[in-house]
Symmetry: C2
Subunit: 496 residues, 2 copies
């Protein structure tokens, strides 16, 4: 240890020795870790716990002591706050959390995330993040293998990046000159695509009206002939088509666009072919189910979020790019001299920070890597196969039960269905029936939230009234949970 020197006073501040009590700090972290282990990690698979301890916003504000004051609270008080935060938060790890496209707990990814937070790195240069940059490279390489490209590049963000990249490829001058005065750029995506496409088009200055939405069939898949028509329409209008975004695993229905046929059209018209496989990409890991993405190797770019079905933890989003001539770098670089010095003593090609939009960036690849190391490809595959088999099981159970009605035969893990309560079962099919059914899901949802027994999403969709969307992801989940789901809906809605 370095010897302490004489006291120095500058601007009224004594500058000797550190001002933090690190022993007390370490004790606090240890105490808090105990709470996290007991209240979150150990309860993750306990179905006797509530999914959430519901409180309305106004009430919850009163319960939590939110105000930040001039003087700090003692560690005991802060530990109590931590307990309260955990108590009133939704347990997304709970086996009955079916509400979004993520769920469950993976212990390896969790540990990787704890390590990341403790080390507090930012991924831009090799000198600052040596391990994490190499890990990222290994993960991207492996993901590209599963897409079926020979080489490629990657970065951890998604659809908007792809759109920008496609635009750069189409016309590199836009980087400097902007879009002003150029012909209208047009891109194509299915009616069922994620809403981030519209957000991205607006953000990039392309405009939401220049996203041409392509009709889908009754299963939610893009119709290739409709795409062909729309491309021709755009050309006739004198606008500049540059990009097709296909979706592999839509958010609501879990539909997969016919990638191979769409690739043909992109090739014919010279359009960038992007696949949003944020949700469906994980099927690539399964030898049984990867046929859902047949043709993906022909894509120019692929977005794939391992934080969804593969449980890598929010967020873990990869954009994979087939080009290996440095397009990402050319498109994004700003060459900040203070960060990306060229006179360093090591191979600066590992300073990848200039390939992304963000400056500070967390090493999101690391958690996916540690999990993959621990489970192996086979372990990941097993999870995907199990999730899809469970979805299959649920579908068959729904068909058997009175009052449950499938929206459509699913191809992935999204099981969409209505619950028709006893009072509506004898009603004639007609506007009144659908209007009444529309109100059923919100009521059941309110009841399950207040009871805390499970969480399940619902939504209306293209003229279809409110239906439930069950998403099966977590390896903690079993047929018992599927049965519970249906029993619980019946129980909650028996008086409706």
């Amino acid at each position: 240890m370095l010897q302490k020197k004489n006291a120095v006073l500058v601007d009224g501040v004594i500058l000797n020795g550190p001002i933090m009590d690190s022993k007390a700090g370490e004790k606090f972290v240890e105490d808090a870790c105990k709470i996290i282990m007991e209240e979150v990690v150990q309860k993750a698979d306990d179905i006797t716990e509530k999914v959430c301890e519901w409180q309305a916003p106004e009430k919850l504000k009163q319960i939590l002591d939110l105000e930040m004051r001039d003087t700090g609270e003692c560690d005991q008080k802060v530990l109590q706050l931590c307990r309260d935060v955990i108590k009133y938060s939704v347990k997304t790890n709970h086996p009955r959390f079916f509400n979004q496209l993520y769920a469950g707990i993976d212990y390896y990814s969790l540990v990787a995330r704890f390590i990341t937070e403790a080390l507090n790195p930012s991924v831009y240069t090799y000198e600052v993040s040596p391990v994490f940059l190499l890990v990222e490279e290994a993960v991207i390489k492996k993901m590209i293998e599963f897409i079926g490209w020979e080489e490629g590049d990657g970065g951890s963000v998604s659809n908007m990046y792809a759109m920008n990249l496609a635009r750069y490829k189409f016309c590199p001058e836009i980087k400097e000159k902007g879009l002003s005065g150029l012909p209208r750029l047009v891109l194509f995506a299915s009616e069922e695509c994620h809403y981030s496409m519209k957000k991205a088009a607006s953000f990039l200055g392309i405009g939401t009206e220049n996203v041409y939405f392509i009709k889908t069939d009754e299963r939610g898949k893009m119709i290739p002939e409709e795409l062909e028509k729309q491309v021709q329409r755009a050309r006739k209008e004198g606008s500049a088509p540059f990009l097709v975004c296909a979706t592999a695993g839509t958010t609501v229905l879990g539909a997969f666009d016919p990638l191979d046929k769409i690739a043909d059209i992109c090739e014919k018209h010279g359009l960038w072919f992007h696949v949003d496989a944020s949700w469906g990409g994980s099927a690539l890991i399964s030898r049984k189910h990867r046929r859902l993405l047949h043709g993906i190797h022909r894509a120019d770019s692929v977005a794939w979020n391992p934080h969804k079905m593969l449980l890598a933890g929010i967020q873990c989003c990869a954009l994979l790019v087939k080009d290996n001539t440095g397009l990402l770098k050319k498109c994004y670089s700003a060459e900040a001299a203070y960060l990306f010095q060229q006179d360093k003593f090591y191979n600066v090609s590992y300073d990848t920070g200039d390939k992304s939009i963000q400056c500070s960036r967390r090493p999101d690849a690391f958690k996916f890597w540690l999990m993959w190391k621990a489970l192996g490809t086979v372990g990941l595959e097993e999870r995907v196969n199990r999730a899809l088999a469970l979805a299959r099981y649920l579908v068959e159970e729904i068909k058997k039960r009175e009052g449950f009605q499938l929206l459509l035969e699913p191809e992935y893990a999204n099981v969409c269905f209505w619950y028709i309560p006893p009072s509506l079962r004898k009603m004639e099919d007609g506007p009144e029936f659908w209007q009444k059914l529309h109100q059923v899901a919100p009521i059941i949802k309110e009841r399950m939230m207040k009871k805390g027994s499970m969480m399940l999403g619902y939504q209306p969709h293209w003229g279809k009234v409110n239906f439930f969307r069950q998403v099966v992801i977590s390896p903690q989940v079993s047929r018992e949970d599927m049965d519970f789901l249906l029993d619980e809906i019946e129980l909650l809605a028996k008086d409706l």
Copy 2:
């Protein structure tokens, strides 16, 4: 506990019971937490440890077993990987990590981050993130107080968001129509602004050439008269000026633009006034130093990153917006029906997800909140005052020592200086001297990296040859570390 039911086999998968061994998983997390405590948290203030265990990329790849295989590794092996990851990562918590605009450890923020990772929430709707949405509201409200606005809105991202917002305000139609066919949009920022401004202009379709850079004075501050000239030039050219980005705390020199005078010009010309206070915003917490940002209350938007001087952990970036008529929502909303249902049973104004670009989003406000609760405003203020007093101390020491030369008198925590090694001290001032001096910092940097004794950034800047930039942040740091820094440079460079 729910009773297990009969085995069900679907698609070759047995669907009963969970497939994860949660006891083993919990044990693994406990073992790993012990390693994290011992190897990261407890060593955070130990100056006898290396800042990094340097290895060149090719060598480090050999040491780490990076490959992801078909079968997983046993827990013991994975724990060893964790140890290796920690060993070869840069310790950004180390008292001698001076390399970026973040450093040190805050135990409260760290615990909040562990809780976040364990709960794995995503912030879009109240039902999924009740606590974190309220916490975010409390944090934004408090930050707005420090800026001096009466009301406002906020979201956790920064400069690019502000640019997009200003553009929307200027011409809302761009959201739907895009920029095609519109007059050229122009924005203004100082020559010393962060490189994210150019990246943002390129990304948004505005074009990097339409960022007009304003000359700065010798201290790196934007010259208001030059701004006035450039705005008039843009008008004469027939382009559409819409935004001025002032910087409060530039990346390299730590300069503060004269906000009050810039506000006058923005008002006169009807331009959106954005302040990038990512780095300098933390001075707002200090009653002594907040005068550096005099005039910030007149801004339309402010970016402020508490993950820098306030140690909230990467990343914690707030964009604060003065408008309270819902501009953020109007500008960003895509109104996805599957996520933002309007027939919910609670006040959906807390479903704030549609105000941001991302869909999945971590609750970055939480770590700042917990820290603020624990330290109080006074504790945060003390940290800022101490960091700036330490910078002051370092400046005075540099002036006293032979061979050290300040680039300029700093106003913030960036202390920029050259080290002139013995062999150059007698040389005449001239091109040869500067060319030789340019090579000194990279050599010292290489030596400190390989020794692992500290990390300190260097860069050339506007014709000035490579100089060191010392950034003082962490409350673990003391005058002893400042003295060490100068001693160590002398030691590393004594033969140069």
